[in-house]
Symmetry: C2
């Protein structure tokens, strides 16, 4: 699975794997793909430093990347406390009531909330960049809009390629104007923040919109035939996130969550604002149902919703409160039915890809395949 | 584009085209595909008879099919008048008010509503079947659920294959149990009634669920690369509907609607219950906005909603009231940017397919392609 982009990056397969786990990112790069570590869950730069060093030591010299969440728009002089103060009391009460109704225990006194999405705050993301640029990171991805111009310039000065996610051709063109090197076309069926246009339509539309920039297809890809489909649509690579959540190298810290993922079907996700305030696909749970219920208070805009629910999500995860327990994941979750190693996933992807290419060649009447 | 199914049906390309227009269906079959005439807009059997005879005379001996809307569940002794009586007065008032707000003229006295979705009623659909079985129709498709067992048996007695649309693997398996021959996997991005699972995920899931039954991929397909993607995913054919709406052979009776379709982007559709009471993808308009507005009365269940809005939709179409003017169409509408003949569409599909196969072969390292 070699494209111009994979050759440029010096990788064997044009398969990009986004993951919050350094062990998974390292295994993806070792398997011949391109591991991208998600930085959004890191609040302290030294934790990211430690994990990137670990990743570098375990990638066997293969390239890897970092994914940050950096809004292009900057709100000067606004800190976490100011944002906290904007959250209405009625919403805080709704969180408390929902947790109480499901008997979710409190955290122990002094125990910090382990799960905070503070990586979205510009100051946090910039500190992460300082860490990244000191290390041999080869690609910087941004999940929300184009990164600021000075960040793009700094990346290019360091020889780092910049990728950005787009849910529409219009967003993709904005990235191109901002000097981005690679566009990730994130379809409706993807896990995490998504738009409403499905990969089958979005990928070729983005490919045509930003030509000759390389495009990665994201959303709905978890098997070799789906990789072949993305390449048919003009992608120069695929961007997979969900599929790694149930690999043996992943560490969800929750056997119950792993069980839920393995049991879920493609219809068991929902595109909800419950987690961050922007529509993000995730497992449908009692938690998303509560926020999506028209009788409830509804969600707050980003970043308020993320701050509002951070502690609650930590408690739900820590105590594995099954009816509320969820995670961002795409519709491909229906294909995640057993725990496998990252290498086994790659073997399955490449084998399935070859079979799909055989099938399409037969349909095209090109059976004398070399 | 030859698959086992296309060989079995004796067609050149495994491209199935669903259309309400006999001229389009005939042109699709003449171009080497398989034209399928939608019967839902026919209220009188003799009109369908006339159009099927015309189609047969213009298909140059190529095979074609008929698509009916027949619910598997039968409601004994309930006629149109009984259903009309179930519509609340508040909903009728909302229709009148919305039309008045946009200055939509009344139909002339005695002028019949030209646009009625009564084909969904079992008695209408059964009369249509009598017409179809008297003619050389080679495939019978059903848009809502499996057709009743006696209809499947009658089709098979006449040597007619039966296809049914499915939005999930579970629905697809039900069709298989009902003795259906072909499953159409209708993705989220498709025009008309759709589920929430996108084609990239749905097609391979349905292929695996009903193996060895042949599956057609529907939703998001309007170019050769998308056809190649569907074949990669295991489909034995593609089912296209939206793409024909702006062909020169189509007759929308509305230049304004054609203009709207040519101008619309992939983000200009919505999955709304406004037209039939079940979620159906269509152009987003002032009409769908009114029904989807939480401040409005909301839609009624099928078949009430369809009866409630039938006359209104006729008036909107007849007088081309642009802000309200819409039609079922998929996200592929963004690719429909010029009026072309059906043959030109086929030429584009086959050329784009070959290019996509070339691209995937290069990525697979199989450049010595015969």
């Amino acid at each position: 699975m070699q494209t111009e982009l994979s050759k440029r990056l010096g990788i064997e397969h044009a398969v990009f794997g986004f993951t919050p786990f350094p062990a998974v990112a390292a295994a993806i790069s070792r398997a011949g793909g391109f591991g991208v570590l998600g930085a959004v869950r890191y609040t302290a730069p030294d934790e990211l430093e430690r994990d990137l060093d670990w990743l570098d030591a375990h990638a066997e010299g293969r390239p890897y990347g970092l994914d940050v969440v950096m809004p292009a728009k900057k709100v000067e002089g606004v800190g976490e406390a100011d944002v906290e103060a904007m959250i209405p009391e009625g919403h805080r009460r709704f969180v408390r009531d929902t947790l109480a109704r499901h008997g979710v225990p409190e955290l122990a006194e002094g125990e910090a909330s382990g799960w905070r999405i503070t990586g979205w705050m510009e100051q946090v993301a910039r500190a992460q960049l300082d860490v990244a640029f000191d290390r041999p990171v080869k690609l910087l991805a941004n999940a929300l809009g184009s990164p600021p111009a000075d960040v793009v310039a700094r990346a290019h000065d360091h020889g780092v390629l910049v990728a950005a996610l787009a849910g529409s051709a219009r967003h993709a063109r904005k990235h191109q104007e901002a000097g981005i090197d690679i566009v990730v076309a994130q379809g409706y069926e993807a896990g995490g923040h998504t738009g409403e246009i499905a990969s089958m339509v979005l990928t070729p539309e983005v490919v045509e919109a930003v030509d000759p920039l390389p495009v990665l297809s994201a959303g709905g890809i978890g098997s070799g035939p789906q990789v072949a489909a993305a390449f048919s649509l003009g992608a120069q690579g695929v961007w997979l996130g969900s599929l790694w959540l149930t690999t043996t190298e992943a560490d969800l810290h929750s056997p119950a969550l792993t069980r839920k993922l393995l049991a879920a079907g493609s219809g068991d996700t929902v595109r909800s604002r419950a987690l961050t305030g922007k529509p993000a696909r995730q497992l449908r749970t009692g938690w998303t149902d509560a926020w999506d219920d028209p009788a409830g208070p509804g969600t707050l805009p980003m970043p308020l919703q993320g701050l509002l629910v951070a502690e609650a999500v930590s408690r739900i995860q820590k105590y594995e409160v099954e009816p509320l327990l969820g995670t961002p994941v795409g519709q491909i979750v229906g294909r995640m039915t057993s725990e496998r190693s990252v290498q086994a996933v790659f073997d399955d992807l490449t084998r399935g890809f070859e079979q799909a290419v055989d099938r399409v060649n037969r349909i095209a009447g090109r059976s004398g395949q070399s």
